[in-house]
């Protein structure tokens, strides 16, 4: 443990893993909230049905969203160059995500404060946009990262992004957006099937099966596209220095269409991860068909974790490749914060993450049980 806390290379690897954990935590927990939002117009037709769907997440979406906020903060603290480059580079896309996400808290809270059908229909739209748009754009961002992003650094390490919003919306990136949209819709459907009663759960099972099958098919197709080199790839050609200074200008990188498969070829056992990324959603579809909703939710969770992990593993040690100046790419070993900050943050995480998981689990336990229309119509019900 002590050695871990004083070895720069180990700390960087630990924070690379934690970056994945945070992204998976966000995709798995807030993922079903986003999915519920995106599904709202389709699984729930009457106002009462919509309130049932919303009430399945009304008490917990706020805590789930903190995974995203914590992700932002942790990237800032542990990978400052990544934080600086990705959010300024994907500027307008990020603005769209924020715009959609800003609508969400307000829509949850304000929707049922007014009886007017027009009012409620508008907020239902806001919830749909707040779910579907981020689910799509996060995938688009991953699609761009896989292809390499046009950026470079000046000698002062000032990050300069050279692309445009429309450059981000290229076909391959939009394809990745579809993968993440299908994945989170399937996850949201599994949640609704598990947590809601009546027609909402029934429709969620139907739509969820199709979305889960689509996720498996699209992800497999994505793997094929990487295999044939459609996304390209980048390979670090100079030796990796695990405890060197975090300066991304001191190495050489070349474009190499086979690079994103190199880690899997070197360690074939890793192929298990993308395989589970396909098997997970297939099992989720089967579970929904068999009305094993809890199992479907677990299978969907496994699928999401493995799909996110696949991206990280295929690119390692690269985190953010540059398409215009490949040598300026950010890697695990030259884009982190200092040893002291990585260590301080690891200690903080080791202390607080178990506490967070414990009280979050307790809250879910308190709120266990299915949501029915009676919960909404009961006199004095606090439901949104």
């Amino acid at each position: 443990m002590l050695a871990l806390l004083s070895d720069y290379e180990t700390l960087r690897l630990a924070w690379w893993v934690l970056l994945g954990v945070l992204l998976i935590g966000f995709a798995v927990t807030d993922g079903f909230d986003l999915g519920v939002g995106a599904l709202l117009p389709f699984v729930a037709r009457t106002d009462l049905e919509r309130r049932v769907a919303i009430h399945t997440v009304s008490a917990t979406w706020e805590g789930n969203q903190v995974w995203l906020v914590l992700g932002g903060g942790a990237i800032f603290a542990a990978w400052p160059a990544l934080y600086a480059l990705s959010f300024s580079g994907f500027y307008l896309a990020m603005f769209l995500v924020l715009f959609a996400l800003i609508l969400r808290p307000v829509a949850f809270k304000y929707r049922s404060k007014n009886e007017s059908p027009v009012w409620r229909a508008r907020w239902d739209w806001a919830l749909f946009v707040g779910g579907a748009v981020p689910a799509l754009i996060f995938g688009v961002a991953v699609g761009n990262v896989l292809q390499g992003v046009p950026f470079h650094f000046t000698t002062d390490l000032r990050p300069i992004y050279e692309g445009t919003l429309f450059g981000l919306l290229n076909p391959l990136a939009l394809f990745c957006g579809l993968v993440s949209l299908a994945m989170l819709v399937a996850h949201g459907a599994a949640w609704l099937a598990f947590k809601a009663e009546g027609p909402v759960a029934e429709r969620a099972r139907q739509i969820g099966q199709r979305a889960a099958l689509a996720t498996a098919a699209l992800f497999a197709l994505g793997g094929l596209l990487v295999w044939v080199g459609a996304f390209g790839g980048y390979r670090v050609v100079t030796p990796l220095i695990g405890n060197g200074p975090s300066n991304p200008l001191a190495k050489e990188v070349v474009a190499d269409a086979g690079a994103w498969l190199a880690n899997f070829r070197a360690h074939p056992a890793l192929f298990l991860v993308p395989l589970l990324g396909i098997v997970g959603p297939l099992l989720a579809a089967a579970g929904l068909r068999a009305r094993r909703d809890g199992g479907a939710l677990l299978a969907s969770t496994l699928g999401i974790a493995c799909i996110v992990a696949t991206v990280g593993l295929s690119m390692f040690p690269v985190i953010l490749p540059s398409s215009t100046h490949p040598g300026h790419a950010l890697t695990v070993f030259d884009a982190s914060s200092s040893l002291a900050t990585l260590r301080n943050m690891l200690i903080a995480t080791v202390i607080f993450l178990p506490i967070i998981l414990a009280y979050t689990a307790w809250v879910y336990r308190v709120l266990r049980g299915k949501v029915s229309e009676r919960d909404i119509t009961a006199p004095g019900s606090p439901a949104y």
Partner: protein
Amino acid sequence: MTDPLLVDLSRLQFALTAMYHFLFVPLTLGLSILVAMMETVYVMTRRQIWRDMTKFWGLLFGINFALGVATGLTMEFQFGMNWAYYSHYVGDVFGAPLAIEGLMAFFLEATFVGLFFFGWDKLKPLTHCVVTWLMALGTNFSALWILIANGWMQNPVGSVFNPDTMRMEVTDFAAVIFNPVAQAKFVHTVSAGYVCGAVFVLGVSALYILRGKHIALAKRSFAIAAAFGLASALSVVVLGDESGYAVTDHQKMKLAAMEAMWHTEAAPAAFTAIGIPDLESRTTRYAIHIPWAMGLIGTRSLSTEIPGIAELVEHARGRIRNGLVAYAALERIKADRTDAGARAEFARTQADLGYAQLLKPLVADPLQASEAEIDRAAWSTVPHVPSIFFTFRAMVACGFLLIALFGAALWYTAREAEAPRWLFRAALLALPLPWIAIEFGWFVAEFGRQPWIIEGVLPTALATSELGIPSLLITIAGFTLVYGVLAVIEVRLMLRAIAKGPETLAGDPAALFPGIGANRNASGLVAAE
């Protein structure tokens, strides 16, 4: 050199989104504590009225909280979006408190706020009360960590520039956490939040009393808000963050600007109660002085001198010259990373590197700067004196008015006397005051920090992302539009909820002891949502 328009637009956007966010934060801080206090009284006495109060003020808390969360999202990401060089330059130090805020505060607050609203019939009263306190605790932890981050921008302790990574890196994290400026700011800011919550409860209760509605609830709320408000308002002033202003060069400059103190005076300096600072002549016209007051407020002593603006500018000029030595050494290190002589020279002078960077907006190569340019750079360390001078006074005036209001309100409630109607009208009229004071306070703190984004380390003009002007115009227009619409909706919902008032189901035994033996779907709750 970054386009000055880009810098101005980036600053405008940050100011808009941060000041808008901070319309909701102080009310969240204050109401969460007040609601938790009310619920504690309910749990201790089991009197229905206190439960009604908890739920009613909790409902208003919720309407406000939603917008605080929504606008807080922007805050977490816009450092990277609009301030990419800043993020690279100080992320190693500044990012950590933000991440810890997420770990320690946001999860606590956001996880338990759900149970606060939806757990009434699922938890025993005592457990629910603990949940409410945890939510309030999370809110306050959040303020602590963000002010540690902000305190470091004002007084960047515990860190050093690393020429190999071209950024600031942490050397002493404990010093960052226990930064005296951050500690003073934390107490000042959360107390101001408590004042805001108290004025809100006081004002709305006064409205009910004036209209003769919901009297039982309004009177109790009025009393608790008066007591809590007076304690908090005194804490804002007594533990105010002026105590943090003696610490650093630029904090001293900010203090001098707040007082329009153009030259050092013999200790203890006089306080300029009011006057008109003139930028041209660098004097304050029509000034009314209060002898000794400034020295006492600023230094808590009769013998410590407070430096004036002109003397601080001279001091800055020296630091610029010293910084140029560091700047030249850094250029040599960039050319040859093994140059030990350059590294030694840089280590000796690097504390002033930021001052040399003040020249970058004025001249392409700071090493070629003329005397006139160095003079301009030295004077650029003076923030805009008149706006700081007046907003500071407006903030202080609001604070003293509120102390008088809370004092009068407590006087009457403590004597259980019938308070005169003018007091209730005054409480209603005072509603905007805490927001005015708080926004002005942030203006003094952050506008007064200029030209620095990190005091003495990084000038604001260098810190932005390299974005196109159209991108910024789009996002400024977008944020203004969506924030504007949401503000209108929020205020309407708030007014509707206030007009509707609290509902009680007194007499229903299940409502008194929820979760115990009662059907959880029909336990007769106050319609909180």
